[in-house]
């Protein structure tokens, strides 16, 4: 099964609350990077998510955390050998009702996507934001503000200055 097909089928099970975030959402917005799984944000109880998946014959489990800085829960599983995770929308910066339909998939609004990446704040996340800023310079000020708010501006700036990234995305 293709990654995009798995995403479409998982989204259908979580409709209308689920929206794509992560690597597939980034790909839709033009980021060229390998991703090995499907990430979805949903405003649903984890038990409801697991129940919906179970009805479709998909096993999943919930991991909870009370550590500061961690998401309070995440539902994880495999669908046709493809890893997926469903994360709490409100904690990942995704507002329900703010989404785009692209290529038949419900993807997070681009500003929400940038916010979710700033919350995650890893190198890969900053790479993705920098790529988007290079392709859509009108989003750079928003991205910088967001990164400053989540204390990852220095990492974002280093990616924005990256020559290879500039060569790849500046057109």
């Amino acid at each position: 099964m293709q990654l995009s097909e798995a995403a479409a089928r998982l989204l259908a099970l979580l409709d209308p609350e689920g929206v794509l975030i992560g690597g597939i959402c980034g790909a839709v917005y033009g980021v060229e990077r390998f991703t090995r799984g499907v990430d979805i944000a949903a405003d649903l109880d984890p038990e409801v998510i697991m129940q919906r998946l179970q009805h479709a014959g998909i096993d999943s489990n919930v991991r909870r955390s009370s550590e500061p800085g961690d998401l309070s829960w995440g539902v994880h599983g495999q669908f046709e050998n493809i890893d997926f995770q469903v994360l709490p929308a409100s904690e990942t910066g995704i507002s329900s009702g703010m989404f785009e339909i692209r290529a038949g998939l419900r993807v997070a609004d681009i500003r929400d996507f940038i916010t979710s990446k700033c919350i995650a704040a890893g190198q890969q996340d900053m790479h993705d934001i920098a790529a988007i800023c290079l392709m859509q310079p009108e989003l750079e000020a928003f991205s910088r503000d967001c990164a400053a708010h989540y204390r990852c501006l220095a990492t974002l700036e280093s990616w924005l200055d990256d020559r290879r990234l500039q060569q790849r995305y500046l057109s």
Binding site: Q2, L3, S4, A8, G23, I24, A27, V28, G30, E32, F34, T35, R36, I101, R102, A103, G104, L105
Partner: protein, 80 residues
């Protein structure tokens, strides 16, 4: 029409004309203009034994590249 194409999974010109409630010929010409401007891709395909022209948005093409990368990685992992 471009917005309709961007929202949809790959669809034939016939399906697009139906969705837009417009004449097939006019939709065909419009799609050709969009393709010439690089805004969509048109490729031949066989559906139900008939040759059709499939219209893909830039978003669909990006997803296809991701799917190709994923398939390549799966193949590589299996070979190792």
């Amino acid at each position: 029409m471009l917005a309709q194409i961007e929202k949809s999974p790959p669809l034939s010109i016939y399906q697009l004309a139906n969705q837009c409630g417009r004449n097939y010929r006019r939709v065909f010409d419009h799609v050709k203009e969009l393709a010439a401007a690089g805004l969509v891709n048109v490729r031949p395909d066989i559906r139900n034994g008939r040759q059709v022209s499939i219209v893909e948005s830039i978003y669909q093409q990006r997803l296809q590249r991701l799917d190709d990368m994923f398939a390549f990685k799966v193949k590589l992992d299996a070979a190792q």
